[in-house]
Symmetry: C2
Subunit: 275 residues, 2 copies
């Protein structure tokens, strides 16, 4: 199995941890159902091309995590699904995002008026003259699932400081009639937890995170909200309806034919009514 050896070589992580993470994935993905008897140590030994003791170490790790139960003479079994992972569904459009945040009460909210650093932007809106920094941690059932680090334009913060200090900033923005929106977009990438974040989210250092970089631009082309929200990767799920906003009856044109804009999707710019 030179393939296997090559793959092992790519990682410096201990063999038994690599084996453990493969077994863990098989359990969490449902490939091995709850209550099911998994392969024998000998089979795993052959599959992964490692010593018997190494497989046992891997099984021991998962036993401590409560995912496996080994019984002498009988075999190793998948424990009854420990806790259906409570997925946080990441919103993919403004309305559902605001709806989802509405009931969310951020904890440990800190506000820095003093040293707001104007963030460098990448061709999405001009920077405001000064920003306020908001930091918070989001919980669900006492379990932290994300950490937010938001730069909010000072001029917007001053519209309702009390509310910005106690509720999700985006919800507050959505409720401000003085603010018109031109653009709001989010970029998701995968990152890795540093010690501070690992401590806040109760995850291992270096474990994967989902990093959302969210920018909201007002109708003056100013980036009024620049947020970096970091989620635990094991509690986040993203659902995307691919056909949202697509006119199916036009489908056979291959998406090339220019249908009237109004029937395809509302044009984004300058839609806001004057007040």
């Amino acid at each position: 199995m030179s393939k296997l050896l090559n793959a092992y070589d790519r990682s410096r992580v201990s063999l038994y941890l690599q084996v453990a993470s493969v077994l863990r994935e098989r359990i969490l993905s449902g490939q091995w159902a709850a209550g099911e008897k998994i392969s024998t140590l000998e089979e795993l030994e052959n599959e992964f091309q490692v010593a018997r003791v190494t497989v046992r170490q891997a099984v021991e790790v998962l036993r401590e995590e409560g995912l496996l139960q080994a019984r002498q003479g009988r075999g190793t079994f998948v424990s009854a699904k420990p806790h259906d992972r409570h997925w946080v569904k990441l919103a993919t459009n403004w309305d559902s995002l605001i709806d989802a945040l509405k009931d969310n009460v951020p904890r440990r909210l800190t506000v820095e008026m003093t040293a707001p650093i104007p963030q460098l932007e990448i061709a999405d809106g001009k920077a405001a003259s000064s920003y306020v920094r908001l930091q918070s941690v989001q919980y669900r059932n006492d379990d932290p699932y994300s950490s937010a680090n938001v730069l909010l334009a000072r001029q917007v913060f001053d519209l309702d400081p009390a509310r910005f200090k106690n509720a999700a900033a985006l919800v507050t923005i959505a409720g401000l009639s003085e603010v018109g929106l031109r653009d709001a977009h989010q970029t998701l990438t995968i990152g890795s937890a540093d010690p501070v974040l690992a401590d806040v989210l109760k995850i291992p250092i270096g474990s994967p995170t989902v990093n959302a970089h969210c920018v909201v631009v007002d109708d003056n082309d100013v980036a009024i909200y620049v947020g970096d929200i970091i989620y635990r990767s094991d509690s986040i799920k993203l659902q995307i309806n691919l056909l949202d906003g697509v006119d199916l009856s036009k489908r056979r044109d291959g998406g090339k034919a220019a249908a009237p804009a109004a029937t395809r999707r509302p044009s984004r710019a300058k839609l806001r009514q004057p007040h």
Copy 2:
């Protein structure tokens, strides 16, 4: 720093690898700019509360990766940005998805006519009577970035077998006038690479992956396409326009007021014209 020790305890990975992953993140995220001198070994030693040799091991890892350059007597420096990571942008709607896939030529495409397993569904469409399994790997500049494992309804496959064997299945479906679509959605989660996948995508076993579960339902409510596409997490970027399909002029109603369906977004069901 009991905080730090707690965080270390959560992971069984070698200390020097944990430190290395933190330093790596600081470089890749731009927190430490290219050419910049990073903290001295002594400072890192204090920050991470580890022995000098351990910090050196971490630096050595990043030196081998080409991210750092250490020079005796002077310090340790961030190498000139090695290679702007070529991000693959994940599409978030049907048209852009088809557009993105159009030019994509999957390699190592294998087709299994024989043993197509009807997949269990989760309340999204009925299963077809039989499926064909398509497996492929996607490349960009000779670097693999995703692996696709698709179940395609046999009845759909038979409409144009030759094309399904050589092009992305979704593009082929989009081009088939016989097929009407009722729904297409995608669910993204974070997973971990098993040995087979690690070998295909050239990543370490256990390293994070982005798993896309994509289901396409036709106008008979049959799931004609059930795809699992697994991406390398370090080459994937997801951009979401939050205001797509949102009528900004109605924003102040809090998204509750029912605007006429046509102005908000096309209703999804039964949009297909008869043929």
